[in-house]
Every structure is written in structure tokens, then in C-alpha cells.
Symmetry: C2
Subunit: 419 residues, 2 copies
């Protein structure tokens, strides 16, 4: 199955509004049945606070749905930055793949309309965006373990440790044309923070840090090497943008949303993304305090969650590896004794962990001196205090990238962040 | 452009014979014009000595051509091992790509017929297969430099150091469906030598070596890690089977043929393949002697050529890297100062060299204890002498795989082979 690409809107495409979305959904029997009653009774509102899409919440007498529709440009920037609608299809494919392996951790999808670049899915309520919760000082005791489990299940089952080469290459091909979204990552994560790109911005007090990064040859070299892995390592199907703004939570439930950047890349990229965002949440806590020490315990708790994410990932990945019998092309049972299997797994996990630390560093830096920033730091109104937190985060990120083989493990990285 | 796949023969496909090939070519005006005169005057003979295809040489009063046609099965094994005709298309695509960057080192193509899985190309004469020449004790003074140049030009220009991400991913996708040919490599190079696969064979005196390889956990682990790179590293378009039997030479001319295994993989795989076959040629020389010391100078000359291949590759790759201005997504000029460029290039070359040593080791082992053997060793009629040469080659190959980071360079590997 090869992705049907649509790089420009067809005549059928029409961006919906809160006024028109109910009429469109009424014509879809499966959705009308979920919502119940008549379209006239349905309430629709647009809540897209992301950078790219329209997101409608539609509620009826019987149920509710979210309708997510791609716009043919980057919402954050405007029509001057066109972006193909095809990302809606990749997101739908990825949600479908993730549902197969980790159904508890992604929203259910009800309908995908190709020409409208629109997916109708479960309205997650009373969930909130994990990042907003962490900024508010809230704790979600199960989120970290759920995320580790989501990562282990989706990454293992889309890798050559589980799939046959035919299955794997078919899936790689399906996402290879998601080039426009990969290019956003290639530019915004790996390149723009390291030169004076026009849309970069930083807290004014950080001008010296930004300038130093752009003159840091060793760092830039290491970042480009990580970029080479991003571009050339088709290890597993990635979510592609797994930050805390792409995770919705309650006390008991955790869902990864918005996989429109999905592609086959290095496993460590997805893991590094979520670790980076937890690290930034921790570094931001002190700046968010209204009284001295108010957020110290919260910061410590967030750092603990980083270890939980990695340890859960590692344990579940290990269990999946050990459960497989003859599936998977790499380290297959026909050549690998149990002794070899154990050594191979340890090596594979070590490689993923090293990658994750490096990509985590890249993800922190791009959020402080690049185009797209995070609420964790932005919510610190006093720019002196914000800059102080960001400065520590950048120094830490630089160490993750350049010293990750010395740091050696996620656990040691957490210790380094604590001090 | 996505590859048009044909996994089974259509009704149009018909395997040609020396009797029918002239009639088929007569209906192709471009080919008829090259050959001149009438089909009745043309001489055709079938010369396919490879493992997979039909190869016809057709000579007319004015000129000559080669017509290469895929069979829907592995010729070496028979109809019991089906193999898709689509490999003929990948070969044609790859020849076309190689012609764009290294026209001096590949045959010209005149015509490709999709349904017949047939390509008509330049008949290279008086060229002979490089492997046969080396077995006969002949020298081709330019072949090594030509091969280094072919590798630098084809690998650089199909990598992210030269292409935009859109160009690159389009090309990667074009070859991703060459799964059947990749699976042959995955099985025959990386797996089968390391377990008792039914089609394995070895010189009887080497049973102990074959058994030791199959119990060698460290080696098997390292080989599977190289296999992971083969499967997951889409660095550049590879020839995919660049041994000395895929190279045709005269004193002055060198052409790489038969890229039907073409796919996007690690550059070091192609380089390692050709290095491995030169190493095997060198290890075989003593066994080919009819009098003591007769081939010592030839063996030394062959080892020197290995350094020439690598040094030429490295120098030309460096020149291409330095010539590029703003092309290529990785280490692009927008972030990379000249200082960074130089350091990045050194790192990239070091990585390719390390990969090449590892893959060279894999390629040597598979030719001695796997299914497909090489004439270099097979031409040593005395199995005791053959086993002696093969035993040394295996021990050396094992070192290449396990100690390549200590060996450090192709030059040091050559020194290790000399002693």
C-alpha cells in the first residue's frame, strides 16, 4: 500500500468552520450515530491551539467527536508558508498503526476523509494537554509509564526486530513521501538554531547563548551527525513530534495525539523528544514559583518521571523482544542463541538510549533559540528568571549532545540535571 | 517516479533464446540500426555465466550489443527458487543513475523493455571479467583507481551530502521495493553462513572453521549489527553486488555491470564488497601457483590495489564534497563553516571506512562457507591448498569484523593481510 498523496487541495477540499462542520458531519452516518439527534442540536467549537491545523470539538445529545482538518499552510505563520494536506493522511495511517499495537494510548479514529484532509476521532475528555498540567504544577502519576509503554509497543512492532523485510519496506515506503513534515524537523530542529535564521527568536537576555551556539563547531558537528541519523536510519515508525503538547492526560489515562510528522526514523528520536520536554518542564519549575521552593518537589517529581519513561520503555521492549519466536529479520532465532539474543538486546537498547540523549539535547535547544517555543518557559513572565532557566537547560542540552557517551544512561542524565 | 513493479511474468514475457533474440531485436529500430544489415546476418550467442539471468551477445555487420534478460527464477538453483523479473527494472534504473554520475565506468544502455524484463546495452569488448583476469595472474593497472572513482561519484551524488531531501526520498522510494534482491543479501551474506543452512557448502577440510563460525557469538552479533546497517541506513544508492565478477576490464577501461541488487544502503557496503573480492584474490594467489613464489608479486600487487581503491575513493569524495556549494541537506553551508566542513568530512569518511572493513569481512566469509563461492578459491584444484588459503581468509575476515575499530583504516587492513 503506497500513500495516496495530495500535495495541493482539490476542488473538493474546503476548510470547515464551526458553522459548517456540523453540516458536513451530518452527512456521515457513522458520525451522526455517535453524536445522536439532529445537526441542529450539535454544538461545535474550534479549539486548535497548535501550529498547523483546525480542530473542532462537536458535541451532540448522545456523544462527542473531534474533527481535525489540515490547512494548506502553516497556521502559526500563515498562508505564506504552504504545507501539503497530505500530512492528514500520514497522521491517519500512523494512528491506525499505533492503534494496532498500543490502543490504550492513542485516540480512537472514526472516519478519515481523504479529499477533506480530515479525520474524525474520539473527543478525549476531561483530558488536558500534559504540558499545560505540568506548567500548572499538576502530577499525572501514570503518564510516564504509559508513555514508556506506548513507545516500546509502537517502536518494537514497526522495526526489523518484529517485521519481515517485505512488511517493513512496504511501511517505510508508505511514509517516505511525508517529506514536507520531515523537512520542517530537519530545518527547525537541526539547522535553524545554529545560524541566524529569520524566524529564530530567544529571550533577550539569552542573546549571548544563542550567539555561542551558532559559533560552536563541536556542537554543530554533533547535531548534524544526529541529523544524519534522523534522515538515514529507518529503524521504526516514529510519532515524529512526541512532545508534552502532543500528549493528553487525566489521572489514569494517557493518549499520544497528532502524529502528522510520522516517518521511519531512529527510535531514539521519539524517546528523546519526550524526555527533552520533561527535562524542560523540570528546568522551568523554579521560574514558575510564586514563592521560594514552591515547585522544588514538582521539579524532582518530573525528573523521576524521566527515569520511569525510560525504564518502562526498556522493560517492555525487553519483554516484546523475548516473547518473539521466529518473527523479525534482525537477530532472528535461526542464527541467534539465547545468549546472543540477550547480548544483542543489551546493545540495541544501549544504542537507542544514546540516540535518545542526543536527540533530547537537540529538542531542548530548538525550543529556546529556534522558531517554536514551549509554554513551560514562556509562562515565566519575568524574562530574567526565564532566561536563567533557559540558560541552565541549554547548558544541560549541550552536555547531552556532546557528552552522551560519558553520561552513559538516562538515569545518569537525570542525576546531571538534578545538580 | 515510483518503480513499476512486475512480480510475475505477464503474457508478453517470453524468455528469449539465441534463436529468437535476433528476431526480437530486429523489431527495435534503434538496435537494428546499431547492428546494421538484416537479422539473418546477425550472430547471437548466450553467455550468461552469472547466477540469475540470460545474457546474449548479438553481433551484426555494423555493431554489436548485449541483451540481458531476467528469468523468473534463480538460474543457479532453478525454477524452484522464483525471483521477480522486477530486478531488471531496478538494474536499468541504477545503470541510468550511474551513467549520470560516472558514465566512463558503466556500460551504455540502448533500450529497456519492461514487459520482457530486458535491457539492451553496449557489448564491452575486448573486456574480460576482472575476477577471471586476476585468477589468471593478469594486472589491470587502472582498474583500482577507476573503481574508487566510480564509487565516489555514484555514492556522493545519491546521498544527502548532495541531494535535497525531496530528491533523496523519491529515489529511496524508487528502490525500496527491490525487496527480493535485498532479501537474497540479507540471507546469503548475513545469516546463512552462521547456521547450518541447507545450501551452504565449504571445502571439506574447512568443516571445523564453518562449525566454529556458527558457534561464534561475538562474530554473529557483530555481523547482525552490520546487517542492521544494511537494512536501516539509507545513505546512498548502492550497486549492491560490486564484486570482481561484476567488473569488466581492459588495460585502460573499467566498467561496473549488473547492478540488479541496487538499493539505498550504507556506502561502506559497496566499498567493502569490492575490497573483499580483492582480498580474496590476494589470499588465493599462493594456491594458484604452479611453482613456489610464482604468484607472490601478483598477490602483493593486488593488495596494493586495495589501497588505491580506497585512496581514490577518499580523494574524489573529498573533492566532490569541497566543490559543492549550497547543495545537499547534511552539513549544508548555511550552518557549516569551512572548519566544520573539514571536520565533518573527516568523520564521514572514517565512518564509511569502518563500515567498509566490516562489510568486507562479511563478504569474504559468505563466499567460503555460504552458497555462492568465488572462482579465485574454486580454481585451486587441490582442496588442501584451497582450504589453507580459505582458512587464512576467514581468520582475516573475522578480524576485519571484530577488530575493525582497532585496525582503523584500509591501509592497516592491507598491512594485516600482508603478514
Amino acid at each position: 500500500m503506497t500513500a495516496q498523496l495530495k500535495l495541493a487541495p482539490t476542488s473538493t477540499y474546503k476548510a470547515l468552520t464551526p458553522q459548517t462542520v456540523t453540516g458536513w458531519l451530518e452527512a456521515q452516518p457513522t458520525i451522526a450515530a455517535i453524536l445522536g439527534g439532529k445537526a441542529a442540536e450539535w454544538q461545535a467549537r474550534e479549539v486548535g491551539d497548535g501550529n498547523l491545523n483546525l480542530v473542532f470539538i462537536v458535541e451532540g445529545p448522545k456523544g462527542s467527536v473531534v474533527a481535525k482538518q489540515a490547512l494548506p499552510y502553516v497556521r502559526l505563520v500563515g498562508e505564506s508558508w504552504p504545507l501539503p494536506l497530505s500530512r492528514a493522511h500520514y497522521e491517519y495511517y500512523a494512528l491506525t498503526e499505533q492503534q494496532a499495537w498500543a490502543p490504550a494510548y492513542v485516540p480512537k479514529t472514526y472516519l478519515h476523509d481523504h479529499d477533506m484532509a480530515l479525520t474524525v476521532m474520539e473527543y478525549l475528555t476531561p483530558h488536558i494537554i500534559l504540558r499545560k498540567g505540568l506548567v500548572q504544577g499538576k502530577r499525572y502519576p501514570k503518564a510516564a509509564a504509559h508513555l514508556g509503554s506506548f513507545l516500546a509497543r509502537t517502536l518494537f512492532h514497526t522495526s526489523d526486530y518484529f517485521l519481515t523485510p517485505v512488511q517493513k519496506r512496504e511501511k517505510v515506503a508508505q511514509y517516505l513521501t511525508n517529506t514536507a513534515m520531515c523537512k520542517i524537523s530537519e530545518d527547525l530542529i537541526f539547522d535553524e538554531p545554529y545560524y541566524a535564521a529569520p524566524l529564530n527568536r530567544n529571550t533577550p537576555e539569552l542573546d549571548d547563548v544563542a550567539a555561542a551556539l551558532r559559533a560552536d563547531t563541536a556542537l554543530k558537528l554533533a547535531v548534524q551527525q544526529l541529523k544524519a541519523g534522523f534522515m538515514n536510519k529507518t529503524e521504526a515508525l516514529l510519532h515524529g513530534d512526541l512532545h508534552t503538547g502532543s500528549v493528553m492526560v487525566t489521572e489514569d489515562d494517557t493518549r499520544a495525539i497528532d502524529p502528522e510528522f510520522a516517518f521511519f526514523g531512529p527510535m531514539g528520536f521519539d524517546i528523546g523528544a519526550i524526555l527533552a520536554n520533561f527535562f524542560m518542564a523540570a528546568f522551568a519549575q523554579e521560574g514558575l514559583e510564586t514563592s521560594k521552593g514552591e515547585r522544588a518537589a514538582q521539579a524532582a517529581w518530573i525528573l523521576e518521571q524521566i527515569e520511569v519513561i525510560w525504564n518502562t520503555f526498556s522493560a517492555e521492549f525487553t519483554a516484546l523482544w523475548n516473547q518473539r519466536s521466529s518473527t523479525g529479520e534482525l537477530f532472528n532465532a535461526r542464527i541467534a542463541t539465547p545468549e546472543l539474543q540477550a547480548e544483542a538486546l543489551a546493545n540495541v537498547l544501549k544504542g537507542i538510549e544514546q540516540d535518545a540523549l542526543g536527540y533530547a539535547g537537540c529538542k531542548i535547544i530548538r525550543r529556546i533559540v529556534g522558531l517554536a517555543h514551549v509554554e513551560d518557559f514562556e509562562a515565566i513572565a519575568d524574562t530574567t528568571r526565564r532566561a536563567s532557566a533557559e540558560r541552565k537547560a541549554i547548558a544541560f542540552a549541550r552536555r547531552l549532545i556532546l557528552e552522551r557517551s560519558n553520561i552513559g544512561s538516562v538515569s545518569n542524565a537525570v542525576k546531571a540535571a538534578q545538580t
